[in-house]
């Protein structure tokens, strides 16, 4: 009697606990989205891909701050529906997009358009046969003439195109003009200048670098990308990506050791514990209020700098991160922030391709979206100053021009989340924590990275790297 009660109570509670514990993942930013407005609008006489009945194309995208959702609907959804009167677009802002989308697509459903956080993710979808070959559409829509070739090529696997770049970005260094001016500092371009400012800032009780990774472990790879490219040099990173140089080469070991050294010196918010514990809201606030000096982040931050600097909107600016070794030119580590593919299970791939084309077909629309929703839908196409709406922040246009110029000249660096294969990338994100924490030496880190990278190379999992 007692036994059975006890046992049953066990079961009960296990059930309770499983249901209670098996809950949750990240707290991605979330907001409710207003219902999609009625798509019916006067046809503008553009070519329509699908004749006859109205086709519905679904697209799940990241869930941005509330104020950015309506502009996306107005500019993109309505604009594209005008171009394609037979298509109705359902753009859904999705919580925890990556995991939810994966679950759905893996289960054979999900939206027509698959958005991923980078080429490495696409590669997994491709190997599973879950996304369609876009090569025929590439010719049909002439994407090669519109989209920057390097950005288009990143979407290729075994010579076929599987994804398009929704946004491109580069790692830069953000700063507060007033903080620099108040301390008589110039924007540093060399390691010596950077370290001098860092030491002085530290002495004054400021954080030399405001970065922290509590909100996003990926901050580790932002830093590694910058340090690799600006210490070892973009040319050497390219050689290593191509397998002509090893990741445990002294150059890369030294780059990691330098980063670790800065952490130990307390340049990052006073030290590793603060770095590990600090989330983005504090990071942004510290730069805006002058409590910290530099912020190593990507061009996506154009979205949040104006918010953080509401009180002093003229004070923020950006520059390329300084060169970290004599003889190495500073470069923009460039990357793809998110990609677009067509679900192999889509019933209307042609219409989905037409929707994809809308992202690139109209420079003014693209520029308007960039203006309204800065940072996350920066499509890699040629945009001129005239394309941007009046009042677009000149600092932003300057950045886009610099990025476009680097894109065209081929003189750019490489971000880990675009040009490294998935497991190597995850290794960098996770194990840089261990390096910072003193649990792993830069040598050990580099050795293990080389091992994983070599294995992935052997398995044919390297993403395409355009020739330099």
């Amino acid at each position: 009697m007692k036994a059975s009660k006890l046992i049953s109570a066990t079961f009960i509670f296990t059930a309770l606990i499983v249901s209670a514990c098996a809950t949750p993942f990240t707290q991605a930013p979330a907001t409710q989205m207003p219902a999609t407005p009625s798509p019916t609008q006067a046809a503008a006489g553009e070519t329509s891909i699908v004749a006859g009945e109205k086709v519905k194309i679904t697209w799940w995208t990241e869930n941005p701050e509330e104020q950015y959702q309506q502009p996306l609907i107005e500019n993109f959804v309505n604009g594209c529906q005008t171009d394609n009167p037979n298509i109705e677009i359902e753009l859904k802002f999705t919580e925890n997009l990556n995991d939810v989308l994966r679950t759905a697509v893996q289960a054979g459903s999900g939206p027509d358009i698959i958005q991923t956080p980078g080429p490495a993710f696409v590669a997994e979808y491709v190997r599973a046969g879950l996304v369609s070959d876009l090569t025929p559409y590439e010719q049909k829509f002439g994407w090669r003439d519109i989209i920057f070739p390097w950005a288009l090529d990143v979407g290729k696997l075994d010579g076929k195109l599987y994804s398009l770049p929704l946004t491109y970005e580069a790692m830069v260094m953000w700063y507060n003009k007033k903080t620099l001016a108040a301390n008589n500092w110039n924007v540093p371009t060399t390691r010596a200048e950077l370290e001098k400012i860092a030491e002085e800032a530290k002495a004054k009780g400021l954080y030399p670098f405001v970065n922290g990774n509590a909100g996003w472990k990926g901050v580790n790879e932002w830093l590694v990308s910058t340090w690799y490219n600006n210490y070892a040099g973009a040319d050497n990173v390219y050689r290593a990506l191509k397998g002509d140089l090893r990741w445990d080469d002294t150059l890369f070991v030294e780059a990691i050791a330098l980063l670790k050294d800065y952490m130990d010196k307390g340049y990052f918010r006073g030290g590793k514990q603060s770095y590990f514990a600090t989330d983005f809201p504090e990071i942004e606030a510290d730069l805006a209020t002058g409590k910290g000096v530099f912020d190593f982040a990507g061009t996506w931050a154009f979205q949040n700098k104006p918010v953080a600097f509401t009180e002093n909107p003229d004070d923020w600016d950006w520059a390329p991160a300084p060169s970290l070794r004599d003889g190495v030119r500073s470069s923009f580590p460039i990357g793809i922030g998110s990609t677009l593919s067509i679900n192999a299970a889509s019933k209307n791939p042609d219409a989905a391709a037409a929707v994809l084309h809308c992202v690139y077909s109209n420079p003014r629309r693209a520029a308007k979206i960039i203006h309204d929703f800065p940072g996350e839908w920066v499509v890699p196409i040629t945009l001129t100053k005239e394309d941007f709406p009046v009042g677009t922040d000149p600092r932003f246009i300057r950045a886009l021009e610099a990025l476009a110029a680097a894109s065209k000249s081929g003189d750019y660096g490489y971000t880990t989340w675009t040009f490294w294969p998935a497991k190597s990338d995850q290794f960098i994100i996770e194990q840089m924590d261990a390096v910072f924490d003193g649990k792993m030496t830069p040598e050990e880190f580099s050795r293990q990275l080389q091992e994983i990278y070599a294995q992935e190379a052997k398995d044919g999992k390297l993403p395409p790297v355009p020739s330099r």
Partner: protein, 286 residues
């Protein structure tokens, strides 16, 4: 169980001497619990700029604007409605499914029941990551994604084993004479359940309802995964509207937290005495 299961009343105060130490320690424990809750309440009454300079203390200027703002931003009117539907459906379904099963397990000993119990134990230690994807696959085929009923069914399955065993332990405790007497009087199964079993174990049902309802209200991995339609989202997703990646309005967040927690607290306050009674009387004593 050797002792009676009827509640024994009026024996709470066991000793007259020196209750002061009790109150001192209980108050310390209460402060530990209440401190963070008070911070939450304080912050819900502050502006963002005040929280910047005064993150933990009492508000200097009390303002209630965060509450209507949070209500609108979180779209609570919609999500609370959905959650109430899900909770009601979950509670009803779980009580029904578990009630039937518990009766069978407690009163009708059929071959294979031991094995069945073992199965439930095994089944409940499987982490959710293990069955999420196949379940989604199935639910898509059945048209149960983006569907409050579909979510309810998942909750039925995940909460019912707990409920079953809880209710079973209440039912096992009912003296067999009660049931036999009714049967001698010619009562059928249904009448036995209705007139003998349910009146005795209803505090157990209440406990089950509370735990399952709480689970359905607060659960979010399944709610995120299976509901994409904004019109069908549950109250937990409202809360995520406040936790933006790059900016965080703690005043609004706190108000949002309170809005989503208040109904549950109120509900518990209403039921707490019965809940304790239920626990005392039945089940959880092993």
């Amino acid at each position: 169980m050797t002792h009676t299961h009827l509640p024994v009343l009026f024996k709470l105060s066991r000793r007259t001497p020196s209750l002061l130490p009790n109150y001192v320690i209980l108050t310390l424990l209460a402060l530990f619990v209440a401190g963070p809750l008070i911070v939450l309440l304080f912050n819900s009454l502050k502006t963002t700029s005040e929280i910047g300079v005064n993150p933990l203390g009492p508000p200097i200027y009390i303002q209630f604007q965060n509450f209507p703002d949070a209500w609108n931003k979180g779209n609570y009117a919609v999500t609370i409605r959905n959650s109430v539907i899900v909770v009601a459906g979950t509670v009803t379904g779980v009580c029904l499914i578990a009630g039937l099963a518990a009766y069978a397990l407690a009163r009708l000993n059929a071959p294979g029941f031991g094995l069945f119990s073992l199965y439930l134990l095994v089944g409940t230690t499987l982490p959710i990551t293990l069955f999420l994807v196949p379940l989604f696959f199935l639910w898509t085929r059945l048209g149960l994604t983006d569907n409050l009923f579909g979510l309810m069914v998942i909750y039925w399955a995940t909460f019912s084993p707990f409920a079953t065993f809880l209710l079973r332990s209440y039912m096992v405790a009912i003296p067999a004479d009660f049931e036999d007497a009714a049967r001698v009087d010619g009562a059928n199964d249904w009448q036995v359940i209705r007139h003998v079993i349910i009146p005795i174990v209803w505090p157990g049902f209440l406990t089950v309802a509370l735990v399952a309802g709480l689970g359905a209200w607060n659960e979010y991995i399944l709610a995120y995964t299976f509901i994409q339609n904004d019109e069908l989202k549950t109250v937990v997703t409202s809360f995520s509207a406040f936790t933006g990646r790059f900016t965080r309005d703690w005043g609004l967040t706190s108000a949002g937290a309170i809005i989503m927690t208040l109904p549950v607290i109120a509900f518990f306050l209403l039921l707490q005495r019965r809940f304790i009674e239920g626990l005392t009387q039945g089940g959880l004593k092993g």
